[in-house]
C-alpha cells in the first residue's frame, strides 16, 4: 500500500481546540485529529527544523508494524555513515552494495519502504536523486530479439540516480532458456556494474517465489546482499492502519464500526487474505463512499456527523 508512507501536513492544534470550544467538533473527533498531527507536541514542535533525512526516518518509524524492517534500515543507514567517516579518515572501507531483495505478500509495505529508502540514500549522498521507478515484467521484457534490451535499458535510464524496483522479479525467470526474461536479467546485472555508484536495484516478490528464483540463479544471490522480509500484518496492525488512513482524511470510526471492521478483518484473516493493507484500504474507501451516500440529502449536518463512519457504512465489506 503505497500511501502508508504519505502524510498530509499537520492540522493546527489550536484550531482543533477552538472548534471544540465553539461546539463544532466533538471530543473524540478532536483526538482523532490530534493523531493526524503525528507525535505529541514535544516532538512535533521541532518538526520544522528536521532535516530531510530525519523526516525520512521519522516517516519510516511511523509506519505500522515492520519492526525488523525498520531496524534493518537503521542498520544500513549507520553502516553507510560509518563507511563514509572511515573513508574520510583514510581507513579501509567495504564497497557499498545496496541492491536488495524484498520478500513478502502484496500490501505489506514493500514499495513504501523502498520509497523511503530512496530518500535516505539521497540524503546520505549515495544516490543523486533518490527517486523510485517501479516496474514489472511487462515493462522490461519485449516481444522480439533486441526489444527486451531496449526496454530494460530504457527503464534503467529512468531510474539512474534512484532505485529501480522490480516487482514480481521471479517472473523474469519464467518461461525457461528461450524466454526474453533472461535477457532482461542480464541487462539488469550489467547495469548494476556500469552504474554501481548511482543506481540501486530492488527485486521484490512473494517469499517462496523469490527464494526459488535466487536458488536457481545463484549468480544473482551474491549481488543482492541485503534481503528484507515483509511479514503479513496482524489484525491489530491492520486496524491501526485503517485508523491512520481515516484520520489522515478527517474521518474516524464509531465504536460499533470499529467492531464491524475487526469482524471483517477477522473473517478475511480466516480466509487467509490476511496481512494485506490493500484490503483494509478497499474496505475503508468503500465505507467513505457509503457514508457520503447515507448523509447526502440530509440538511444541517454537524462536523461530527461528517467525520464519523458508522457500522452501516461498513456492512457489506469491500465488495463493490
Amino acid at each position: 500500500m503505497a500511501r502508508r508512507g504519505e502524510r498530509r501536513p499537520p492540522v493546527q492544534v489550536e484550531r482543533i481546540s477552538m472548534l471544540v470550544e465553539k461546539g463544532e467538533l466533538a471530543p473524540p473527533a478532536a483526538l482523532a485529529s490530534f493523531r493526524q498531527t503525528g507525535t505529541p507536541l514535544a516532538v512535533s514542535s521541532t518538526a520544522g527544523t528536521d532535516s530531510p533525512l530525519e523526516k525520512a526516518l521519522a516517516n519510516l518509524d511511523r509506519l505500522v508494524g515492520l519492526k525488523e524492517v525498520k531496524q534493518l534500515v537503521h542498520e544500513i543507514k549507520a553502516f553507510i555513515e560509518i563507511q563514509q567517516r572511515r573513508a574520510q579518515e583514510g581507513l579501509a572501507t567495504e564497497p557499498l552494495t545496496l541492491h536488495m531483495i524484498f520478500k513478502g505478500n502484496p500490501g505489506t509495505g514493500k514499495t513504501t519502504v523502498a520509497r523511503i529508502l530512496g530518500c535516505i540514500f539521497k540524503e546520505l549522498g549515495v544516490l543523486s536523486k533518490g527517486h523510485l521507478v517501479e516496474v514489472e515484467r511487462a515493462d522490461l521484457v519485449g516481444e522480439y530479439i533486441g526489444h527486451t534490451a531496449q526496454k530494460t535499458r530504457e527503464q534503467i535510464r529512468k531510474a539512474l540516480g534512484g532505485i529501480l524496483f522490480v516487482d514480481e522479479a521471479y517472473s523474469l525467470a519464467r518461461g525457461g532458456e528461450k524466454d526474453f526474461g533472461k535477457e532482461s536479467i542480464d541487462c539488469l546485472v550489467k547495469a548494476m556494474e556500469d552504474h554501481r555508484d548511482d543506481l540501486v536495484l530492488i527485486l521484490a516478490g512473494y517469499r517462496e517465489e523469490m527464494d526459488y528464483f535466487l536458488q536457481t540463479n545463484p549468480g544473482l544471490r551474491s549481488r543482492f546482499p541485503i534481503r528484507i522480509d515483509f511479514p503479513d500484518y496482524t489484525l491489530d496492525e491492520l486496524l491501526e492502519i485503517a485508523q491512520i488512513f481515516l484520520a489522515e482524511r478527517d474521518y474516524y470510526l464509531s465504536v460499533s464500526a470499529r467492531e464491524e471492521l475487526m469482524r471483517q478483518l477477522q473473517v478475511a484473516h480466516n480466509l487467509r487474505h490476511s496481512g494485506n493493507a490493500r484490503l483494509v484500504r478497499n474496505i475503508i474507501e468503500r465505507a467513505i463512499r457509503r457514508q457520503a451516500v447515507r448523509l447526502s440529502g440530509q440538511k444541517n449536518l454537524s462536523r461530527d456527523q461528517l467525520m464519523i463512519i458508522e457500522r452501516v457504512d461498513l456492512e457489506g465489506g469491500a465488495a463493490a
Binding site: S17, M18, G23, A26, P27, A30, L31, L41, D304
Partner: protein, 202 residues
C-alpha cells in the same frame, strides 16, 4: 518536572482518585493549583476530607479546571517530584454548555502535552449506555492517541461496585495490549500497582 495527567469521561472518579492517591502517598495537606480555562491561576490548601467534600462531585462536570498537586515519589535511593493533574471530564458528543466545552478543550490540550497519562474508566458503567461515565468513543480515541507515547495506563475504577468485574473483563477484551490496572479510588484499592507504574516512568 514531569506531568502526570488524569483523564477520562466525566464522573469516572478522576478527582476522587487524584485526592485519595495523594493521601495514599502521605500528603495530608493538599495544596492544589487551579489552572482555569480562562487563564486564571490560583491555589488553595485543603485537608483530605475538605477536598473530597468540595471537589468530588455528586453530579457530572464538577471539575472545570486543571487541578494539580505536586507529589514526591520514591525512585531508586531518592525521590522524584511529579505534577499530578486532575482534569475536566470528557464527553462523546458536543456539549451544549459552552463552559463545559471550554473546560474539555483545555483537557484535550493538556492531553497532547502530558508526559504520562492515567486514563480513568468507570468499570461499573462500561456497559451502561446512558451513564455519563459509560465507556464511549472518546475513551477509544484517548487510548489510540496515548498509545503513541510511553507512559499510558488505563485505570479501571469503582471496582468495589457490582458489575465492575464484568466491565473490567470487557475492557481487557476491548483494549488488548494496553496496561489496565483495576482500582477503587474510593477505597484506595490497587494503588500500589498505580504507584509502581508511575514510578517506572519518572
Amino acid at each position: 518536572m514531569k506531568e502526570c495527567l488524569i483523564v477520562g469521561k466525566t464522573h469516572a472518579g478522576k478527582t476522587m482518585f487524584a485526592l485519595n492517591f495523594a493521601h495514599y502517598l502521605g500528603v495530608t495537606n493538599l495544596e492544589i493549583t487551579f489552572r482555569h480555562p480562562s487563564g486564571l491561576v490560583g491555589s488553595k490548601t485543603y485537608s483530605i476530607s475538605a477536598a473530597r467534600r468540595e471537589l468530588v462531585g455528586a453530579a457530572p462536570h464538577t471539575t472545570r479546571a486543571l487541578q494539580s498537586i505536586t507529589l514526591d515519589l520514591p525512585v531508586g535511593k531518592g525521590s522524584k517530584r511529579c505534577l499530578f493533574t486532575d482534569t475536566s471530564g470528557l464527553v462523546d458528543h458536543i456539549h451544549a454548555d459552552v463552559e463545559i466545552r471550554r473546560a474539555i478543550a483545555q483537557t484535550l490540550g493538556a492531553i497532547r502535552e502530558a508526559d504520562l497519562i492515567l486514563h480513568l474508566i468507570d468499570a461499573a458503567a462500561v456497559g451502561l449506555q446512558d451513564a455519563p461515565s459509560a465507556l464511549g468513543e472518546v475513551d477509544y480515541q484517548v487510548a489510540q492517541f496515548a498509545q503513541m507515547r510511553t507512559g499510558y495506563a488505563m485505570l479501571a475504577n469503582k471496582m468495589d461496585l457490582p458489575g465492575a468485574s464484568v466491565g473490567l473483563a470487557r475492557l481487557r477484551q476491548e483494549f488488548p495490549g494496553h496496561t489496565i490496572l483495576p482500582i477503587s479510588a474510593l477505597y484506595k484499592r490497587g494503588f500500589r500497582e498505580v504507584k509502581a507504574f508511575v514510578q517506572r516512568y519518572l
